[in-house]
């Protein structure tokens, strides 16, 4: 009984924290981007400009929720929900601290890969349902981009899975007691990080919404909270991928002195900052460059990483 209560409390806490964190990240990203560009950013409303989050939320809720007459309504309405659902569901498998995991699944990694491959649909369907050529172009780009980067992401994680000998995320964290997987799996980490950029379609890989070419890409026709869901969904997936990078390569909640949860939060926050710094620093590559880089460079590298890791593990065990 107490187990069920604990799980319910955990689910409620995770949902609350993640959703608020997504709002908080709006402020973090704006302030941090500004600081990186030698500006100050929003600092007027409230202490450090923190109330800008409240202002943003009020604004986005009270805007007119305009559904254009030329769109495919059911798909148009369903698309923004998909990203929220898939990104939030993926948090079920993340171990925040020893024992504090909602779903201690033996195929956790596979569940995450499956959910992230389902997450593609939000962009594709939004792009198609908008009945707008720019949105459609964004959706098509997204389909191709996420489809290819999905492959590398799965392959790069296989090295970690081989070392840990399990698809269970808690087991992966436990397997890093002797040493974090960033050392033996550095190539895998780089590939996973690049794939995460492609999956979350953050800059520099934001082909599907490239403002300068496609207006706003797949969410051109969206307004009000439907746009807000894309916006928040992006931040949720950034948080998710940061948490997963922490779990897979940086020892999850492992660390000295501080409590496990604190270590987890510190590492995750670090990766979120890296995401934002990359956004400030790097220009957007051309569309074909992205794919040439993916298929001609990352795919062989991921395969090589997998083969070498597997060979070493076999050699050690024999």
């Amino acid at each position: 009984m107490s187990d069920v209560v604990f799980k319910l409390v955990l689910i409620a806490t995770v949902l609350l924290v993640i959703l608020h964190l997504a709002g908080f990240l709006i402020w973090v990203e704006r302030r941090l981007l500004a600081l990186l560009q030698d500006r100050l950013g929003p600092n007027r409303a409230g202490p450090l400009g923190l109330f800008i989050i409240v202002a943003d939320i009020i604004k986005i809720f009270t805007k007119e929720d305009w559904i254009p007459p030329f769109i495919d309504k059911p798909v148009f309405v369903a698309a923004p929900m998909i990203i929220m659902v898939t990104a939030l569901l993926s948090f079920a498998i993340v171990p925040f601290a020893p024992g504090a995991v909602i779903l201690d699944l033996d195929i956790g990694v596979l569940l995450f890969l499956g959910l992230s491959s389902m997450g593609i649909y939000n962009v594709i369907l939004a792009g198609w349902a908008s009945n707008n050529k720019y949105a459609l172009l964004g959706g098509l780009r997204m389909a191709a981009q996420m489809f290819s980067y999905e492959v590398f992401m799965g392959l790069s994680l296989m090295g970690v899975v081989t070392l840990a000998g399990s698809f269970n995320l808690s087991a992966i964290v436990h397997a890093q007691r002797e040493g974090w997987f960033i050392v033996p799996q550095f190539l895998g980490f780089l590939i996973f990080f690049i794939a995460a950029l492609g999956e979350t379609h953050r800059l520099p890989f934001d082909m599907p919404e490239a403002e300068s070419e496609l207006i706003a890409g797949y969410h051109t026709e969206y307004s009000s909270m439907k746009f807000g869901m894309f916006f928040v969904g992006e931040y949720i997936s950034v948080t998710l991928f940061s948490a997963l990078m922490t779990t897979f390569f940086f020892g999850g909640w492992l660390g000295p002195v501080l409590p496990p949860l604190a270590w987890f939060c510190v590492k995750t926050a670090g990766f979120i900052v890296v995401f934002i710094v990359l956004r400030a620093a790097l220009p957007r590559p051309r569309y074909d460059q992205l794919f040439a880089f993916g298929w001609k460079f990352i795919l062989p590298a991921a395969l090589l990483n997998l083969v070498v890791t597997g060979a070493l593990v076999l050699w050690k065990s024999s």
């Binding site: 596979l110 499956g114 491959s117 098509l140 389909a143 489809f147």
Partner: protein, 175 residues
């Protein structure tokens, strides 16, 4: 467990029917995604979580994306929807549905008589799947890999022949 199975099975059957009957290609594909997800749930219930995950990743996540990609490229408008509707006349679907009904009756009668243990078998984890693939069925896996490699090389070759004239002009332009 049984209720979950029947719900998932019902969802799968209904969404698959809708895939066949829907006049809008994209909507039909969306129902196909739901159908695959329901089938994945059934796999999970039957003690094959690895297959369930692969079902979602590969079929629902990747193959349907390609389908959607093509449908989006074709840009089927309301005209295509009307055409599909015109095709859904009784004389078109009556033959296949009679055959389908016979199959359904066979399945139901088989289940009624007490089929071999379907649900609740031993759980098949990733380890067992891997052992089977690279142990007993090693030859088959390698043959399939060869087939896929052939497909890959073929696709690359076709693309290259198409590109050739363009690349020639490019080299001419260079000093």
């Amino acid at each position: 467990m049984n209720t979950v199975f029947f719900i998932a099975a019902g969802v799968a059957v209904i969404s698959t029917l809708l895939v066949i009957c829907h006049s809008n290609a994209v909507h039909a594909l969306l129902y196909l995604i739901i159908s695959f997800s329901a089938v994945a749930v059934i796999f999970y219930l039957m003690g094959a979580p690895f297959v369930a995950a692969l079902e979602v990743i590969i079929y629902a996540g990747a193959i349907i994306v390609l389908f959607l990609f093509v449908v989006m490229m074709l840009n089927l408008g309301p005209v295509a929807t009307a055409q599909e509707k015109a095709w859904l006349q009784p004389r078109m679907w009556i033959g296949p549905s009679i055959l389908g009904a016979i199959l359904l009756a066979l399945t139901v009668s088989l289940l009624w008589r007490g089929a071999p243990t379907a649900a609740g078998g031993a759980e098949v984890g990733p380890r067992q799947v891997g052992a089977a693939l690279f142990g007993v069925y090693l030859l088959a896996v390698q043959l399939a890999a060869l087939l896929m490699l052939a497909g890959l090389v073929g696709a690359s070759h076709l693309r290259r022949r198409e590109l050739l004239p363009e690349s020639e002009t490019k080299t001419e332009l260079l000093p």
